[in-house]
């Protein structure tokens, strides 16, 4: 399939999905329209592959009503190799999420609007990834923005929290769009064209370039959910239907990274050079802040949302490291960093899809997404447990998942950057590594907490104790499990296939210093080898004698069941005594109290008879997002005050109105008198 054929298929299938959403009988709507959406995703994957492999690029031109030649060119869809990578990511995530949605979507998410918006959402993202010019890029950007807002509102629109989330999301998205539009306007007017090739060829520099760079960076960073522009993420992701959250987090957010890579690599490379530290700082801070917030929250989907900020932060860190190294002339290592960025993008897409889908299943089964009220799902939901577990390993960057391979590559790039001749590198690389290591460490804790609290131990609430079954008789119910399984397998597969993957990415970036090693692992020339297969073989080799020993012992000494756990003696502890997600994170809140600023309240009420004996102790602790509290809340207040003050302009007095006109008249008279 050529890229153009793929795009046309995508468009056709989008129309089909909308048609089916409206035409199919409600019982089969999800199967029909969701199936078509899955088709969109698959077509997107093929488009992406075609984009990666085809030389020269295929081009699809869509004329618009504004005459060409004036500065706005017709729409141009032509997936570049890099865009192709993101097409594949979007398509694959979309297909898996659509498959899951067939079984999962219920209520408003399974409505005509829900499924139509889902298809349009995928279409918008694919347009962005295959856009060859500014206007189609923005077109796709806004399409996915509005479709995802609709999807966000699809579930529980009655709840004010959802509406608030939607407004936050819409406003931040629009901030992103407007800064992109303005930034693009600057470069497009300089380049006298809106096509990306012309913009790259124009080699824009100077103040215009700097302004455009910063605006575009803000736009992309907002969409990518980087600190301090991340505030929409922890609100929007939890409230959206889970298969939509998966797509938003695993695919849409990545397009921000795509934009940043294009920005620094292709559109404004000269301008970007001095801003490498800025990009790096954005990435590193997002990583650390995101995972810190994720580690202390007990809302599973909020946790996943903050973890998205973390992972995107890591990818942007990789881009920043690449920029710094390339500024220092260390191009080989720089490319490894960029390859790491793409690996991080792909691996995060894989595991975060599964995690959100798993969270969806949990929500579906128990109606809870608060880890403090979950537990014990390993018994009723084995498929979800294992797929979530594998994905959580990916998120925690444990071998041999995709997350591990990606972070390993980034770490290699970091330690192989030569800081001896370059003070910037000598300072930036260790700091980056330190914060990144903290990020990795906290990530581990976060996902141990998420997995342990949701699936292990005993249920912490009635809802968790009596979950809905994993599979029901609803049409397409098995789709949920299948989608999760496919996702989890891909987390492992991407980890194992890191060699070919990295080779492909390096050729996308026009570099040949990475080769696939003998067993299919990743060999970074002069740097190091990561061979997951070999590692696996050794592990298996070591596990075999252990396993034999276990088999022998199992026969000789049988296991005995007991109904008591240790609680300072064999006491039957109530689930209320279990550790919860909140208590799990409590030490961290203390250690990072300076950064998190928790609000605590402790109320002690004493017995009436005795002032020493305590009757009741109430302790409350809340950790909110300080970026939001410190920056956004005042801005919101300011806007409200400004709005109230502005009303005085229109206070009903005709004299005031006439005075405005009069003032304008006097001013104009003065102006025309001036020579």
């Amino acid at each position: 399939m050529t890229a153009v054929g793929g795009l046309v298929t995508v468009l056709t299938l989008t129309a089909l999905a909308i048609l089916l959403a409206f035409a199919a009988p409600p019982r089969y709507r999800s199967v029909a329209s969701g199936g078509a959406s899955m088709g969109i995703g698959i077509a997107g994957v093929f488009t992406g592959i075609a984009g990666i492999t085809s030389v020269p690029q295929a081009v699809l031109v869509v004329p618009i009503a504004i005459p060409g030649g004036l500065g706005i060119d017709p729409l141009l869809l032509s997936p570049t190799p890099l865009g192709g990578v993101f097409c594949v990511v979007v398509g694959a995530v979309g297909a898996i999420a659509a498959l899951y949605g067939i079984g999962y979507a219920h209520g408003p998410a399974a409505s005509r609007t829900g499924w139509s918006a889902f298809a349009v959402f995928l279409l918008g993202m694919l347009i962005v990834a295959s856009a060859g010019d500014v206007v189609s890029f923005l077109l796709g950007w806004e399409t996915m923005a509005i479709a995802s807002t609709v999807l966000l509102l699809a579930d529980h629109a009655e709840r004010p929290a959802v509406r608030t989330a939607a407004v936050w999301y819409a406003v931040m998205t629009h901030l992103s769009f407007l800064s992109l539009a303005t930034g693009f306007a600057l470069v497009a007017s300089k380049a006298h064209s809106t096509t990306f090739t012309q913009i790259s060829a124009a080699q824009i520099t100077g103040p215009t370039g700097i302004a455009a760079f910063l605006l575009l960076l803000i736009g992309f960073a907002t969409k990518a959910g980087l600190v301090p522009l991340h505030v929409w993420l922890p609100r929007a992701h939890p409230e959206a239907p889970s298969h939509v959250s998966a797509v938003m987090s695993a695919a849409m957010v990545k397009l921000g990274v795509y934009g940043i890579i294009l920005l620094v690599g292709s559109w404004l490379p000269q301008v970007a050079r001095p801003f490498a530290i800025l990009v790096l700082a954005l990435g590193v801070l997002s990583g650390a802040y995101g995972i810190l917030q994720a580690s202390i929250t007990s809302d599973l989907k909020r946790l996943l949302a903050y973890s998205t900020t973390e992972n995107v932060g890591l990818a942007v860190t990789a881009v920043g490291v690449g920029m710094l190294l390339s500024n220092a002339g260390q191009d080989a290592v720089a490319t490894i960093a960029l390859v790491a960025a793409l690996l991080l993008v792909v691996s995060h897409a894989a595991f975060k899809t599964v995690l959100f889908l798993g969270a969806g299943t949990i929500l579906h089964a128990t109606g809870e997404r608060d880890l403090d009220r979950l537990g014990g799902l390993i018994r009723s939901h084995p498929v979800t447990t294992w797929t979530f577990g594998i994905a959580a390993m990916g998120a925690a960057a444990l071998p041999v998942t995709s997350g591990f391979a990606a972070e390993w590559t980034l770490l290699q790039a970091l330690v192989h950057g030569d800081g001896r001749a370059n003070t910037t590198l000598a300072l930036a690389l260790p700091v980056t590594l330190g914060l990144m290591a903290l990020t990795i460490g906290l990530g581990l804790l976060t996902f141990v907490k998420a997995f342990g609290m949701a699936f292990l131990a005993r249920p912490r609430s009635e809802a968790a104790a009596t979950p809905a079954p994993e599979f029901t008789s609803k049409p397409g119910s098995a789709a949920m499990g299948v989608a999760q399984a496919i996702g989890a397998l891909s987390v492992l597969a991407l980890g194992l296939a890191v060699g070919p993957l990295a080779t492909a990415f390096s050729s996308v970036l026009g570099y040949s210093g990475i080769i696939t090693s003998e067993l299919g692992g990743l060999r970074l020339v002069t740097i190091g080898v990561l061979d997951p297969y070999a590692l696996g073989l050794v592990a298996v080799g070591l596990a075999v004698p252990v396993a034999l020993l276990v088999l022998v012992l199992r026969r000789r000494v049988p296991r005995r069941e007991t109904d008591l756990a240790w609680g300072c003696g064999g006491v039957r502890t109530s689930p209320r005594m279990e550790y919860t997600a909140t208590s799990y994170a409590e030490p961290l809140v203390r250690v990072f109290g300076e950064a998190l600023r928790p609000t605590r309240s402790l109320e002690v009420s004493h017995h009436a008879e005795d002032h020493v004996l305590e009757h009741r102790v109430a302790f409350a602790q809340e950790v909110s997002d300080i970026v939001e509290d410190r920056w956004y809340a005042p801005a919101a207040v300011w806007l409200r005050v400004a709005g109230d003050q502005a009303r005085r302009v229109q206070n009903g007095s005709i004299h005031r109105y006439l005075a405005f006109s009069f003032a304008a008249l006097v001013l104009v008279l003065v102006v025309v008198t001036l020579p």
């Binding site: 390993m393 444990l398 071998p399 590594l433 903290l438 804790l445 141990v448 342990g452 756990a565 799990y584």
Partner: protein
């Protein structure tokens, strides 16, 4: 092939020597505290005893109760296989890259933490939480030390680092190298649950970290856990001593070299273990929320090591 055999040998030797190391450490401590002690071979007897006892399974626990100890054990064995203890040779495709080693250690860490959560007891969760917090905070120091050690060599592959240090004495005694090794020592203490971070011999649940996670395990489950944890100590301690004194490792199948290597390793390990045990006698466990300060201190050492390598190198 030779490399594979060497690695197999290394695993066998390390596994065999580990209980002895633990026994020596306990014995040194006992003697210094004025007790007779149970003898240096007691750990071997403990393991044998545990393997013969029937394992229990508490209500509410899951497959994790069985799987986690095995995962810990295998991950520890894997680490032992990768770290240069007896030999600097390694299986060609298998990277004994320090980042990989650290990640494999983390698998064991995670397995333990999940085990702590599995039964749903208050103590298990508490231990798991503390364990993961320390693991998370140790991570920066670990990677930073690796970074510091890798700079002079230009590689994060452990065997290369050890060989390079062995080949050139001046590399060992650089300020950067020393700082990095000291930082690594703190890391090892934290990772293996030694004083002053954790007290391996405590019987008070509220102060436990490592022990509280394995409260539900019995019989062979407990045996795997104990051996797995011990092996971690062997591997990490062995790594530190080999980085500090990078001599005597074998790189071929010559019997003499092998013998020397095994003996050297034994001596280095037992001496180091003895020193640690002796030091622990004079040390109290610090409060949990003082641990981050300790780790921050070691992080700063490692960080200084890195910048020193760059700016001095």
């Amino acid at each position: 092939m030779i490399a594979t055999l060497l690695v197999v040998l290394q695993v066998v030797v390390a596994t065999a020597i580990t209980p002895l190391l633990i026994g020596v450490m306990r014995q040194v401590r006992a003697r210094l505290e004025g007790r007779i002690g149970s003898g240096v071979l007691q750990p071997y007897r403990d393991v044998r005893k545990l393997l013969a006892k029937e394992p229990l399974r508490a209500e509410g626990s899951s497959i994790i109760l069985v799987a986690a100890p095995l995962v810990l054990l295998v991950s520890s064995l894997l680490v032992v296989a990768l770290v240069p203890l007896v030999t600097t040779a390694n299986i060609p495709a298998v990277p004994n890259d320090l980042f990989v080693v650290v990640s494999i250690l983390l698998i064991g860490t995670v397995a333990l933490a999940l085990l702590g959560l599995d039964a749903g007891t208050a103590f298990g969760g508490m231990g798991s939480s503390r364990h993961m917090m320390i693991a998370a905070l140790v991570e920066p120091t670990v990677l930073m030390s690796v970074y510091a050690l890798s700079i002079p060599v230009g590689s994060s592959t452990l065997s290369k680092i050890v060989v390079a240090r062995g080949a050139d004495v001046t590399r060992v005694v650089t300020p950067a190298g020393l700082l990095a090794v000291v930082a690594l020592v703190v890391v090892v203490l934290a990772e293996t649950g030694r004083l002053p971070v954790d007290n391996p011999s405590t019987h008070l649940e509220l102060t436990m970290i490592h022990e509280s996670m394995i409260l539900e395990s019995a019989g062979r489950d407990l045996a795997w856990l104990e051996v797995g944890s011990w092996l971690r100590l062997t591997a990490l301690l062995g790594l530190v001593v080999n980085l500090a004194l990078p001599w005597g490792l074998a790189d071929s199948m010559q019997p003499l070299a092998l013998l020397v290597a095994v003996v050297t390793l034994g001596v280095k390990l037992l001496v180091a273990g003895g020193v640690i045990a002796a030091a622990e006698v004079f040390m109290a466990k610090v409060r949990l929320f003082k641990v981050p300060e300790l780790l921050a201190g070691s992080f700063v050492l490692a960080f200084l090591a890195v910048t020193a390598s760059y700016l001095a190198g």
